[in-house]
Symmetry: C2
């Protein structure tokens, strides 16, 4: 043993005890005759002390030369501190050091190991092992571990079995791009890394496992947007003999349990909103409902009143921004310009101040009188003091633009409170999306999602009108999970694949094993997958996931710390019977 | 909800209750006027009953036509059974069925869904989803899930943090072969799948995580021996500020906890035996110590006594087989022939019967008298009634051969009891193995293993004499885990890699990030990895791991169910800038 206690353990109860500690030198304060060292490990910081009076003079000299981040082992006695620090668990004590061993010297780190470091993102990623020493990153990883264990124990208590599904599977060209793995033993053939264990978990249901879960890595070879990783972690679940409501109830109780355990919050029953209503009310299918500013369609009140900008548009839609009637013209213009930026792409913004005195002031006073505007206010549920903002245009685009504005306003107004949690379910998704250009149908969720039984007959006649038995779990404006009841009969599955453009041969080659399995007695089943990286970040009141991943990759899919990917030895390529195409000159 | 109860839930307490069940038809017994159906799900079997007297005649007729493995939903009333079955939890009751819905029809499965199936290995693998319905496989997967949760909770209670390390890492050509993953975004470059998270867990220690664990998939592209999988699961652990004994104590307590929880067995403190002693006493480094038959070296007693077969040999070594003096000549000859088989490859076997009456009868009576043989018996600790078996030859070979014999005898004699658990530690492994042909040094554990501090100075002068701070955890003749104290300083790590034949450039390219990390204050650290697939099998009293893996691959690395690996689309290859070499004509 290198230590009798860790650096977060010692309190006033230990005063007088001889102890041995080990850790990193976080900081030293040298007063000449007296030296304090903050010794740090995962569990906390303990203050060490040496001085001319009580310490061996050689030891004091040695100690003064020890630099930050050096790993040392010390022996000493626990003393009561004169100046206590009530903000740290070990703040009542300090250790009078009698011996120091340097276990590992340290160069000056490339950035400071402090909560607010001077290191930029790139440097921190290259030296991730130093970044992890910083409390915010360390605490994020500890939090992730804690949440994983809570999830596992909850699901185990609810009769779920964790089953490991394989990582070396078969490539299915539909959907996102697979990462592939050449097989040496089967020359010219490739495995794929799973984008999700979807088909395997369905086979586990056919196999009678009844309730499956797994916290599992998934892989997607996509061009990376910010905050996307080529490998990510999913809480993957599947249940047999269930309807949509059973699954929603089960995972509502899981999320409620987590909120209770982590934040002591008991959420109300989660609201359930249809996809259509979510789009109409919030402009997107993962609404943040911690705040209002819901959409009000104003076509009836605002069109054909002489303001031609509105008249020709498909949609006129507004929101009431609370307590913003007092904004200056400059403030409002800033938002008008904000929506005109190419990233949002709106033509402009009509505003109406609902003044405290009951009067109205708007950018369209020429066209609408107080009576007209009061009807807008009533429709938008705007109170005196609120500011109504109105956009018009093509319905889809306008909703997306107004949604972006709503979220940005909420951010600005401090309405997206990190310690408030507002989960909801979004349901009744269309089964298909239609490619505007090609007219091809794509599965909105995935090709295994079951339509509502009463829509089965529309599958071929009116596919885009078919509603799926699919549901998303949304938390604070993020989709944290999505799932569906699955097709469990071969005929429907074949029809579905055919509608998605699979030839009979393609369907058989890629999903034949699943459709074969349905021949031998498949239970009705469905499931859900929760994005674990994001769930953990949001539960911790954060939006970016990178600190919750120990060794993340950058936007080019590179691990800059180990410098991967990298070229292979020719021998390795030969064994795999592969040639890398030379780059065109 | 498709069911009010699952198929293992109903007991006499429910008699008279109306219930709804769903599951698979396991079996029907048709007595004409009466029909019984065993309805099965993961939780058990419930007997359904219909008869001419109490059931609707149409329903009875329908029910009679329902084949095995059909998925049905039934409603009915719980009745007391006339002929109770005390062997099943639901044996007191049966359900008088009032309605049946077929949820999914079933073709006759390709093999019987019974504990002892008529399906061969290949068929079972192709239809693994049906194989999983069989109780032995299902129970194995449930058991695995249970053990994983026990391990996680134990480690979490001992301050271990589960940290997910990346799957897309960098290929390191030493050691076993990597599976590689071409990077589309970084053309011509490849990731590798981890053979273990070794370097990452060490970096987590440098990062101050202090105690890490992960239950994690690892990948090795090896030619597969029976019972080896290209992907396998490891309980991977690393600790900081520890000596070898601290790690051994920690994981001894983990295994003891598992044995206690699973079998109610409290093992004695685990024996610790040196690698050298294990080889000398058991002929291998993962001894099964559930039984005796330890090796006794008989060179002094058996050489130069006129029996020339022994005289020239490096080693003469014997074991005492308990209560085998009564074996017939034919029985003994069978074992003599057994060791001569090419798989074992011995020249023969000398035997000595220690008769109950104190006399001796041996195959070398011509050369050794009773007095001589009694000394053998004393040395071998053979009692009256035992049979001594002796082999001679080159030390390494002979030990391996006698070890094979010892294990086969134990199997035959029923001494390898599946419900007995005999863990031990093997320690003091050499740091290096020397390639007999090339003279090259290989790391016996891996290149990051620390030598004993007192052997550091021999590292260059006498490397094969250097003993490592390495330890294996052995259970019932299987190595279930292995670990070591790691090197935590750059100089020693560089020296180690240089001794292993890495050039300075190779060392830097492959492990530069690790050696760089050691510049910034690395704590002394070490760890262990337990083979989870095997651990689970052995804890369940089994030796083969395949039933504990939901979707295993065959010996060619193929998943015959999904038919992977498979050729890729040309488009996919193009995107990866890869060409598959055409096969030579």
């Amino acid at each position: 043993m290198y230590r009798s206690h860790h650096c977060g353990a010692l309190t006033a109860a230990h005063i007088g005890t001889g102890v041995q500690l080990a850790g990193w030198v976080a900081k030293t304060r040298d007063k000449g005759f007296m030296l304090w060292i903050d010794l740090r490990d995962r569990y906390g910081i303990t203050q060490l002390v040496l001085d001319e009076e009580r310490s061996d003079s050689k030891l004091l000299e040695t100690a003064k030369r020890i630099g930050r981040e050096t790993v040392i082992q010390v022996s000493g006695t626990v003393l009561e501190r004169e100046a206590k620090n009530p903000n740290m668990p070990t703040g009542d004590i300090e250790i009078l050091v009698t011996s120091i061993d340097v276990l590992s010297p340290a160069q000056t780190p490339p950035f400071t190991i402090e909560d607010n470091t001077d290191g930029g993102e790139d440097l921190r990623m290259k030296y991730r092992y130093l970044d992890i020493r910083r409390t915010p990153v360390q605490q994020s990883l500890l939090f992730r571990s804690k949440v994983a264990l809570l999830v596992r124990n909850f699901l185990a208590e609810h009769a779920f079995v964790e089953v490991e599904t394989p990582y070396l599977i078969k490539s299915t060209p539909e959907g996102a791009r697979d990462f592939v793995v050449p097989s040496r033993m089967n020359e010219g053939q490739f495995y794929a890394l799973p984008q999700s264990p979807q088909t395997f978990k369905q086979l586990l249901m056919v196999g009678g496992m009844d309730k499956y879960f797994q916290i599992v890595k998934c892989f997607r070879d996509e061009d990376l947007r910010a905050d996307r990783q080529p490998e990510f972690t999913q809480i993957d679940c599947e249940l047999s003999f269930v309807h949509q409501n059973d699954i929603m109830a089960c995972f509502e109780s899981l999320l409620a349990f987590l909120l209770e355990e982590i934040h002591g919050v008991t959420p109300k029953p989660f609201p359930v909103i249809s996809y259509e209503d979510a789009i109409k009310t919030y402009g997107n299918d993962k609404p943040d409902i911690r705040f209002g500013m819901t959409f009000t369609e104003l076509n009836d009140l605002a069109q054909n009143k002489g303001f031609q900008v509105f008249d020709a548009q498909e949609l006129v839609v507004g929101i009431a921004v609370p307590d913003a009637a007092s904004w200056s013209r400059k403030q409002i213009d800033a938002w008008v310009n904000w929506v005109k930026r190419p990233q949002v792409g709106a033509n402009g913004l009509v505003w109406v101040k609902c003044n405290e005195d009951g009067s109205y002031k708007s950018s369209v006073d020429k066209f609408f009188d107080a009576d007209g505007l009061s009807k807008w206010a009533e429709a938008c549920d705007a109170k005196a003091g609120d500011l109504i903002l109105v956009m018009a245009g093509n319905a889809n685009q306008t909703r997306t633009q107004l949604s972006a504005l709503r979220m940005a306003l909420a951010e600005e107004l401090g309405l997206r409170k990190p310690d408030e949690f507002a989960p909801l379910w979004v349901v009744d998704f269309p089964l298909f999306e239609k490619d505007e250009e090609t007219g091809a149908l794509h599965a909105m969720h995935h090709p295994f999602t079951a339509p509502k039984p009463e829509h089965l007959k529309k599958l071929e006649s009116d596919p885009t009108a078919v509603i799926a038995q699919a549901y998303d779990l949304v938390l604070n404006g993020n989709e944290i999970g999505g799932g569906s009841i699955r097709i469990h009969d071969r005929i429907t599955q074949e029809k579905m694949l055919s509608l998605l453009g699979f030839s009979e041969e393609e369907a058989k080659a890629q999903f034949g094993f699943l459709m074969d399995a349905f021949r031998y007695g498949a239970p009705p089943h469905g499931g859900i997958a929760l994005g674990f990286d994001r769930l953990v970040a949001i539960l911790d009141g954060k939006e970016t996931i990178r600190d919750y991943i120990a060794f993340p990759k950058n936007n080019s899919g590179r691990d800059v710390m180990i410098d991967a990917p990298a070229p292979l030895d020719t021998d390795q390529l030969d064994e795999l019977a592969l040639i890398v195409k030379p780059k065109p000159e």
